[in-house]
């Protein structure tokens, strides 16, 4: 459904994206792992229409989209920070995309209430964003994007600011909703575990290009991902505690 062909982008002399190409199937979640400054955010912003590439092509369901403004691409980009509209309550934040499309009021109410219920936010619809916890804000931001049925969700480290427990809850909720709605997602993270948990497929951003891994085991085997090293570390800790237990 998404095909990226030889995308290029430079900032001054620094080439951030070099002939970057990949494709994504309908309903797939692709985790993109990479260091800070590796060009992950630039890639998402180009796809969303917030930045212009120097060259290349992007096809969504076979149609070129690079010439379209952000509001006509059918992609929603979610930042690490939720950026909820502070002057609107939860209901109106969620319904924003429907209001600007001039959907009838009764339809807006029905769809928004249904999604609020699905996201476990039904009792919070009248609250203002500043009255919500980080996790709740993230749910509203997610719902605000989902309600307009985007062709593609672009998530830029969306759970990066949440504590570990809320983060796990959000990951579970996010996966469940994405599966139910069959949403295609590009999920950018620098967290190894999150990339493995969330993605149907995994890719790694390196020197302006995207290295795709056919299988999870290929990703783990590649020393550059750091996955093996991480696993060895935890295995070592487990072995050490086992030995201590045996000695006692």
């Amino acid at each position: 459904m998404l095909k990226v062909i030889k995308l290029n982008k430079s900032y001054g002399k620094e080439r951030v994206l070099r002939d970057l190409s990949f494709s994504l199937r309908e309903g797939d979640i692709l985790s993109i792992l990479g260091r800070s400054g590796s060009g992950k955010t630039t890639l998402l912003k180009i796809l969303a229409g917030l930045k212009e590439p120097d060259g290349g092509e992007v096809l969504l369901r076979g149609q070129p989209v690079l010439h379209l403004p952000p509001q006509k691409r059918g992609m929603v980009y979610l930042y690490q920070e939720t950026l909820l509209f502070p002057h609107l309550n939860v209901f109106e934040n969620m319904a924003f995309g429907l209001r600007v499309r001039k959907i009838p009021g009764s339809e807006i109410r029905k769809r928004t209430e249904q999604l609020l219920h699905e996201l476990g936010m039904a009792g919070h619809s009248a609250k203002m964003p500043e009255q919500l916890s980080g996790g709740q804000q993230q749910r509203v931001a997610f719902g605000r994007a989902l309600i307009i049925n985007p062709s593609l969700l672009l998530l830029d480290e969306p759970f990066g600011k949440l504590d570990s427990r809320t983060r796990e809850e959000m990951q579970e909720l996010f996966l469940r909703i994405c599966r139910e709605h069959r949403i295609s997602v590009l999920f950018v993270t620098h967290d190894l575990k999150e990339a493995l948990c969330m993605g149907d497929r995994i890719a790694r951003m390196e020197q302006g290009q995207l290295k795709m891994y056919a299988k999870r085991s290929d990703f783990i085997r590649d020393a550059a991902t750091g996955a093996k090293k991480e696993m060895d570390f935890w295995t070592g800790i487990r072995e050490e505690s086992k030995m201590k237990n045996n000695e006692q």
Binding site: L50, P70, Q71, R101
Partner: protein, 283 residues
Amino acid sequence: MKIRYLHRKAGLTLHVLLTLLPLAAGAVYALLYSVGLAGSLAAGFTLRYWESLVSRGTLWQTFAYSAYIMGVSIVLSYASALAMVISARGRLMERKGSRIFYLPLAMPALVLAFFAFRFLSGGGWLASLAFGSGLIASPQEFPELVNDPYGLGIIFVHFLLAFAFFSIYLDRVYANERIEEQVQSAQLLGAGYRQSLRRVVWPMILRKTWPAISLYGLFVFGSYEVPLLLGRSTPEMLSVRIVRMLSRFNLDDRPEAFAIVFAYMMLTVLLVFLLRKSKGGLR
């Protein structure tokens, strides 16, 4: 902990002593003077000065004229500054030469009023230019732009001052509230540029700047030097009228002047109270 508590208490007491107490004392004195219980004319309680003000329409006329000057100056300057800040996307103050915006604010209002007089009056630079270029045959043909019934000269100076203030202030608000990213969010959710302005930029900025607009409005409402130099005797702005009434030989005017002072103070208190109650207001 205790020291911090004492510091806070001391600060609050000082604030009450230095600012609120003199204001409250002034308000009480003005009220007592206006009802014949204080001052050189004190001869027992009476409402005749208030009745005289209300029946002659002086009070309403002065308030209405001041409100008109305030409304036009603030609306024009705020709208122009907002349009400029939006077009600069909150980076107005990063541009070269942007420090010029501080210039009108650093200048005394009286100096600006004087320049405006030299620029806009019948014998001023603009009239000379019009005469020199053959647009008018004599200075009398030049339209009244100062000391005029519509307060054009006063509005012009207040516009200059408020435009500079709002440009600097709105530029900061635009950046601090991350309006540019909010516009992007709105557009990604399907809003066109105009929709994002109407549904996001405008309500967000207005919510944040409403207290500053109101307080600046009060400042214009009670301004003195600018209308003194550029206004005329009828209609007259509030502060000019009060000072003129207080300095007249007719002592009967004084209680009426104090009545206007008291009404103005109550209006200010009411506004501050409403601002504290409003969302995003004074805290």
